[in-house]
Amino acid sequence: MENAISVSGLVKNFGPTRALDGLDLTVATGEVHGFLGPNGAGKTTTIRVLLGLLRADSGQATLLGGDPWRDAVTLHKRLAYVPGDVTLWPNLSGGEVIDLLGRLRGGLDPKRRKDLLKRFDLDPRKKGRAYSKGNRQKVGLIAALASNVELLLLDEPTSGLDPLMEEEFRQVIAEEARNGRTVLLSSHILSEVEALCDRVSIIRLGRTVETGTLAQLRHLTRTSISAELASPPNGLAELPGVHDVHIQDHQVNLQVDSTQLDAVLRQLSASGVRSLVSQPPTLEELFLRHYETPETAGANQK
């Protein structure tokens, strides 16, 4: 089977709010797929549809070859889920929650459980209400990671973890990926996605706006160039793929799509380059480009 997850044209409305507006998502078996988007973009909603908790208004979704709504109970044996905000029962210990969720899924690996408790430095004897946000998150992570499942659905799983634990999390996920597990990782943290993911989908207002490998996405990014020229530049702003041009006498600052770099450099050298600083493309800019623009995220009314 090719794809662990394939979703197309998914629509979900909550009353007047359109949470998903024709979302597409494909996650190949065995890959770690980054799922990015600003708050309210529809990441959690998508994952809940995949879990068969929410019913989509239209569109197709296939999960591990089954229908996420109809086959929920059998599919759930083969996947584990970590919510973005793990809430625990106040009177159950962390260890009990880990065991319960693992057993309800069909069993967990006691060796792996022990190993994860040590790596995440979690005391399993504390009661749910005594854990901090970060520790609750660890309980959720260990409960999911200690099971031998094919697919991990992680919804912003590292919120609340300190940098040390965040690093541990990356290592664990990298190991999972090596062991052939498929991971859908919704995240906010770019460095995390860059470190872990093979492919990335960026969504906004319930739609997929970019999807591809990190290399392909880098291709979509812009290089920023700052040059001092012998004579005033001309025609730069008219070139395709050039943005944010600022010219002051012989000094020019601009951004250019990575695909158009060549043409811009030729145009610059025509005016005689005295000095040139170029900043390599970062994914961050790409994300910011999708994240910025008016904070319409919360108010995506139909």
Binding site: Y81, P83, T87, L88, G95, E96, I98, A143
Partner: protein, 533 residues
């Protein structure tokens, strides 16, 4: 900035968050005595009539325990002050829960930390909750006083009655603030607080039933009764109330200063590092979540309450022995045990309302699990929606059965022991407890239906239905409501046994209604989005 900075802002926050609930219960509580007064005035227009009514009720020590010391004069005001005394307890419960809701629950949810970092003093949250609840109590008191005055009762007595009501609300707001400091969990804080109310009620009841004057002063609930509005109008009691409320609030504040945010004074205990082998099914999880409540109800109401009912039942017969006239009536109605039977059937009916509250709260546990997002990770495992819901429903439906059975057994054994005819009386009393179940199940099932169909409204519908049944059963007849309206309450159809005629048809019909409601709720739950928050 001092430790109370921001109290005003927090009070406004509380009023905003409670803007729906607060006016409803203030109006409901505030107007309760008025509705009772107008009903009573219509039914018993004369002093003589009222005196007869009072003597009839006060002959039953159980009712003296419920309503407090009987009025010293048969004036309309004094009678209503006495008869509406259950309202004082309800008001105390409401303000206690309100304070815990706005202190410990907030803290548990982590919102207190959020506020703590804003410009808000350390004690502002506590002070705001107590002040808001006290303010609401005063509002109830004002409505009570105005309502009573509108029935042409003396103004001074009406004011004393309003103050007596407000006093209970204020004192228990302060006691709620103390309870909120003691444990880490809001649930335990509620348990402690309601426990204090229960003890106050029991102490007050015991004092009045046995006429032990000094015992009464140990119970803050007793203070309100002993205002004796419209007869003695003991104003000085309000001085006592003011001093005690301030002292309790001060105690709560100094307790809160001795602990960290989020922590309790009682240290948390560590749990198991590894779950026990059997902890691997939705039912095992439900058992963990429901067992505390089930034990509490089974022991508290079932065993202890049952024994109490059973013990008092026989003494109603003995009391009647002193009253020739009543004895004659009873004899005509069917013999010696009639009074005890009527008493037992009546108390089982009141117990059933309480157990319905338990059934509703057990059903609402599902809603709580959903809204707190705890159901989500469970339903993301290979647990079906049906098995998740059914494992909670086992407790929502069988829990009341266990509690009523315990009540019946305990009351039957104790009553049987006092009459000497255990084998005769035990099955009759147990039967009287068990016939209550179909009506209880209807309310539980209505809550389940609401949970499936309109989850956000489920608590309102469940508790609203219970409040309506309580009103219909307690004061419906007094208000002169028509039988059609009274018939809306499932409890109206419960046969009055022991003593009365057993009727199977209503039992079967009520059970069938419960099954239909439950099925409707479950089938909607299978189809709907989770979580609805």
């Amino acid at each position: 900035m001092n430790s109370f900075t921001g109290t005003g802002a927090l009070i406004r926050l509380i009023l905003r968050r409670d803007r729906v609930l607060l006016p409803i219960w203030i109006l409901f509580m505030g107007l309760l005595p008025l509705s009772l007064a107008s009903g009573t005035a219509a039914l018993y227009p004369t002093d003589a009539g009222r005196q007869g009514y009072i003597d009839g009720l006060a002959a039953n020590p159980m009712l003296v325990m419920f309503y407090g010391p009987k009025p010293l004069e048969p004036s309309l005001g004094a009678l209503v002050f006495w008869r509406s005394a259950t309202g004082i307890v309800i008001l105390a419960i409401i303000t206690l829960l309100m304070v815990i809701r706005h202190t410990r629950v907030e803290e548990e949810a982590g919102r207190r930390e959020l506020l703590g970092s804003a410009v808000v003093g350390r004690n502002a949250g506590l002070a705001a909750a107590v002040l808001a609840a006290s303010g609401a109590s005063v509002a109830v008191g004002i409505l009570v006083a105005l309502g009573m005055m509108s029935q042409d009762t003396p103004a001074a007595g009406s004011v004393a009655m309003g103050l007596a009501w407000a006093s209970a609300g204020i004192i228990f707001a302060a006691i709620g603030a103390i309870a909120a400091q003691l444990s880490e969990g809001a649930g335990a804080a509620r348990g402690i607080g309601l426990g204090i109310i229960g003890v106050s009620f029991a102490v007050r009841g015991a004092a009045d039933m046995t006429d032990t004057g000094w015992l009464n002063w140990l119970s803050p609930l007793g203070w309100s009764h002993h205002v004796f509005a419209y007869t003695l109008d003991r104003w000085w009691i309000f001085g006592l109330v003011a001093v005690a409320s301030l002292a309790f609030t001060y105690l709560a504040i100094s307790l809160s200063a001795r602990r960290d945010v989020g922590a309790g004074l009682l240290p948390p205990r560590l749990g198991r590092a590894v779950a026990s082998p059997g902890f691997s099914t939705p039912l095992a999880l439900a058992w963990r979540l429901h067992r505390g409540n089930m034990w509490g109800w089974t022991i508290g109401l079932g065993l202890v309450g049952g024994a109490l009912f059973g013990g008092v039942a026989d003494s109603t017969t003995k009391l009647l022995a002193d009253n020739e006239q009543l004895k004659e009536i009873m004899a005509r109605l069917g013999g010696d045990s009639v009074a005890a039977d009527m008493f037992l059937a009546g108390t089982m009916g009141i117990g059933a309302i309480a157990v319905a509250a338990y059934g509703i709260s057990a059903a609402l546990k599902m809603r709580l699990e959903e809204a707190s997002l705890r159901s989500e990770p469970v339903l993301a495992t290979s647990v079906s929606r049906m098995s998740w819901a059914s494992s909670h429903l086992v407790f929502a439906f069988l829990g009341p059965l266990v509690v009523m059975a315990a009540t019946g057994l305990s009351a039957g054994l104790v009553y049987g022991a006092s009459t000497g005819a255990v084998f005769d009386d035990l099955p009759r009393v147990l039967g009287g407890a068990l016939v209550q179940l179909p009506a209880i199940w209807v309310l539980t099932a209505l809550t389940v239906a609401a949970f499936g169909l309109v989850p956000r409204l489920a608590p309102g519908i469940g508790w609203g239905a219970l409040a309506a049944c309580l009103m219909l059963g307690q004061v419906g007849a007094l208000l002169g409501l028509s039988q059609t309206v009274l018939d809306l309450s499932p409890f109206t159809h419960t046969p009055r046994v022991p003593g009365g005629e057993m009727a199977w048809t209503p039992m079967i019909v009520l059970t069938a209604i419960a099954i239909v409601l439950m099925a409707a709720g479950l089938s909607a739950f299978r189809r709907r989005d989770i979580p609805v928050t």
